[in-house]
Amino acid sequence: MSLDDLYRRVIMDHYQKPRNRGTIEDGAVTVNLNNPTCGDRIQLQMRIEDEKIAEAKFVGEGCSISMASASMMTEAVRGLSLDDAMKMAELFSLMMQGKDIDPESYGLDIGDIEALQGVSKFPARIKCATLAWKAMEKGCGECKLKSE
């Protein structure tokens, strides 16, 4: 168990300097999620234009892993179609299960998110990393339902 697998420099960087922290004034999909066992919480807002995530922002409270994951996720989904964002969430979930994944075969650019791979070796912390992704999936799902 190497802590450095978990606390990678990029992760700590996102934790200290979260990207897309804040709220979107109007016209945004809003999802509130919390992790009832530890009290971490997130509010994710996404502005959807033409079935694409034009912007994603979050506020919340939580550990380094949950906040860094939210920061990375909001970066990664910007500009993606709802379908691609959901595909990325699926990819992330596989990654948390320790599966060897190849983002290229999904045609997705996961950027910094790869740094979270190490979380899969810390089962107690997987929930921390997935909170923001669950929120994003939920938001996309709601949007799709509305547009149908």
């Binding site: 802590l3 530890c38 971490d40 550990c63």
Partner: protein, 408 residues
């Protein structure tokens, strides 16, 4: 008391975790089990297993004796007036829910008050929220003092002639505070209210005498005091238990059953519907034997010494915040490290083989009161040693260094 000798009875403590000898400091969540308890359960299943209160055969008799014998042990452990005042439950949560469902819902009405504190575990909070909603009673909170303790002055100010029920933990699972139960009972009774005590964190660590405390109900769990999970008890004064209706109906708890009406067994059996947790009760009985052989006062003194020792060491670390009072607390230390989330603290400690808890500890209103979302908590028990504390402190210093490094 010799903790090094005691440790020999706990096989689980003798292992490495993540390459380091295990230091188990999550005892407020659940304690480890001595071999004597494990063997008592094994022995019961190997030799005596049978259902209770029904068979006329030998095993049925043995099982009944083992189960009822455990009840006697519980009664004498907390000095109940009689074993009839001990109802076996799944734990503290079910015991408190039994009081809320049976006593509170039947005897409280609109305009009455239920009084608790903001420091309560969810198990001693939500049942009262629900009872208040069901009866129209008002839920009121005794304000905490700045250091998290409960003052008798605030108790006197909050309890009124409308108060029918007061429920409070003897020992807080977060702040480690020890509440003045006897005095609170006196104040509550002066207003005609009853006192319910959440004994989840006191029963494992202090000598408890329910008659001396003069509480009306007292709830606790076996698993936090060396016993198995799934068993606990509710003590209730006979006069209340006799007036109360069961909340679970079915086998075991009945006297006569007719097509349209039935009658119940006497106390405590009317509250124990269905086949009970027999092996669990046997394990709890063995745990009580183990604790009594050492002596509850000795255990309490050992933990006081350890917590004192830990405080002295912690004071040398800057950037640490400790919640709750310094003095008069049990072996629970809840803290935060500046700039590091408690989950991250717990993960690094775990990498050093040190098990602590991080989160809200089922006390969300208290976390709000402390103005934090979560904390880390190290909680001790009779088998912890000064070396454990040293290892914990060293791991904590490493944690600080680690994060000052990765956070740059």
């Amino acid at each position: 008391m010799n903790e090094h000798e005691i440790r020999k009875s706990f096989p689980i403590l003798h292992q490495e975790v993540n390459g380091h000898p295990l230091v188990y400091l999550d005892n407020a969540a659940t304690s480890q089990k001595p071999i004597q308890v494990i063997e008592a359960i094994e022995n019961y299943y190997k030799k005596n297993n049978s259902n209770v209160h029904r068979g006329v055969h030998t095993l049925g008799n043995r099982a009944t004796e083992a189960y009822e014998g455990a009840r006697e042990k519980v009664a004498s452990f907390i000095n109940a007036g009689s074993s009839h005042e001990i109802v076996f439950t799944r734990g503290t949560t079910t015991a408190l829910n039994l009081v809320a469902q049976s006593y509170a819902r039947a005897f409280l009405k609109e305009g009455d008050e239920i009084v608790i504190t903001p420091a309560e575990h969810h198990s001693n909070l939500i049942p009262w929220q629900q009872a208040a909603k069901a009866t129209g009673a008002t839920l009121k909170y005794i304000p905490l003092q700045e250091d998290g303790t409960v003052s008798l002055e605030n108790v006197r100010k909050t309890i009124t002639h409308r108060t029918k029920l007061v429920s409070i933990a003897y020992v807080s699972n977060v702040l480690g505070t020890i509440n003045p139960i006897k005095e609170i009972a006196h104040i509550a009774h002066g207003h005609g209210a009853i006192l319910v005590v959440d004994g989840a964190q006191s029963t494992p660590h202090l000598k408890v005498d329910v008659q001396e405390l003069d509480c009306d109900f007292y709830a606790f769990s076996g698993h936090k005091m060396l016993g198995p999970t799934g068993i606990g008890a509710l003590y209730g004064k006979r006069k209340w238990l006799e007036k109360m209706e069961p909340v679970e109906f079915g086998g075991e708890m009945i006297d006569f059953v007719d097509l349209y009406d039935s009658t119940w067994k006497e106390i405590p059996w009317k509250f124990e519907g269905g086949t009970p947790i027999i092996a669990g009760a046997v394990g709890l009985g063995a745990a009580i034997d183990f604790l009594q052989e050492i002596g509850m006062n000795e255990i309490a003194a050992h933990e006081r010494k350890l917590v004192q020792y830990a405080f002295e060491k912690l004071e040398g670390i800057d950037g640490i915040t400790i919640y709750g009072p310094r003095k008069g607390r049990s072996g629970v230390i809840t803290f935060n490290l500046d700039h590091v989330h408690p989950h991250d603290v717990a993960t690094v400690l775990d990498a050093e083989g040190v098990a602590v808890r991080a989160g809200h500890h089922c006390c969300q209103p208290l976390m709000k009161w402390l103005n934090v979302t979560a904390t880390a908590r190290a909680s001790m028990y009779l088998y912890n040693t000064e070396e454990d504390i040293d290892r914990f402190i060293n791991a904590l210093i490493k944690t600080k260094e680690y994060f000052s490094h990765v956070l740059g």
